[in-house]
Point group: C2
């Protein structure tokens, strides 16, 4: 894969999210990473897999999902460009917690958690960025927890569209439904009720 192009793409992501990642760090990360293109529908990782590998989405969207006891799948998270993916190991899990599937043709930067953690923890600036990323993750999970505790499904749907206007267009409704903790049928009814 073209290294100059990758550096450019990573720098763009860094800029887009105002991360200010030093170019040297980007090159270092590239040096221990593999880059892989997944086509729509392909699996990036599975629940229970060893979590020593993690990744960052460079283009496309990945969905993570659980499979419940009846075998139906339930969306946990959507990871568009710039997001971490198959990242259980990054927060200290030994095993992948969910399944990860490409919803579009997707390019992913893959690396050993160990290498990425060494890079991050060995650099003051990156460590601060990692802290910001974790704090942002906590804010997001608190927001989501609040939704399950105090909001109705309809409110969660409205909030989701407001917060992710782009994703709401980009991913199939049935995945949004299970992400909101309801069935596709229920979401369909909510949408039809909203039309009036």
């Amino acid at each position: 894969m073209d290294k100059t192009y990758l550096i450019k793409q990573l720098k763009e992501l860094s800029d887009r999210f105002h991360l200010g990642i030093p170019e040297a760090a980007i090159e270092k990360a590239i040096s221990f990473s593999r880059f892989k293109v997944y086509s729509k529908g392909e699996m990036i990782g599975r629940s229970g897999d060893n979590a020593e590998t993690a990744g960052i989405v460079l283009s496309g969207v990945i969905r993570s999902y659980y499979v419940d006891k009846d075998g139906s799948d339930i969306t946990q998270y959507f990871a568009p460009e710039g997001s971490w993916c198959i990242d259980s190991g990054m927060v200290g899990f030994d095993e992948m917690q969910a399944n990860w599937e490409a919803l579009e043709d997707t390019t992913v930067m893959l690396f050993d958690v160990k290498d990425m953690k060494n890079l991050i923890l060995g650099d003051e600036w990156l460590k601060n960025i990692w802290i910001m990323s974790l704090e942002g993750g906590m804010r997001y999970k608190i927001y989501r927890e609040n939704g399950f505790l105090v909001e109705t499904a309809t409110e969660r749907y409205i909030a989701f569209r407001k917060r992710n206007p782009e994703l709401a267009e980009r991913v199939p409704l049935r995945y949004i439904a299970t992400y909101l903790g309801i069935t596709p049928e229920s979401l369909s009814r909510i949408r039809s009720a909203m039309r009036e």
Copy 2:
């Protein structure tokens, strides 16, 4: 308040959770902190309050809760000894996200988020501990999110008791109910069904 005693108590917490916090850092933290005893039922903070103050529970238990549109309160979290509390500011919120109430007579160490963040971010070791704490927070929130997505209320209750045997005895059932996302009546039914 007796400083030697506080240092001892904080060191015990540090040991209990294998944090290895340097004694100098503990003394520094104490120097910019206030210590306050809340009696059972007292409020430590309210949703919407400025989040520039945060705290750590030294003894007792605090409960954080939301108030929904009908005015009923819904438990978000239980913070026993060693936990952060009124900590929205620590993860970057401007405003307190929830209400915080002492469930027992409780001693809390209170400080400015700014001071604590300066201390943490200025010390390599503390920064690593903060990262560990955030990663642990993410694992906890992922576990909880998974519960809402794939488990029934009964399963969440069983898991809660398994994970927090001590808290399950220590806090009123009605708070456990809303923490699980159900009403006290529903929990009562679940418990009665489990008795058979």
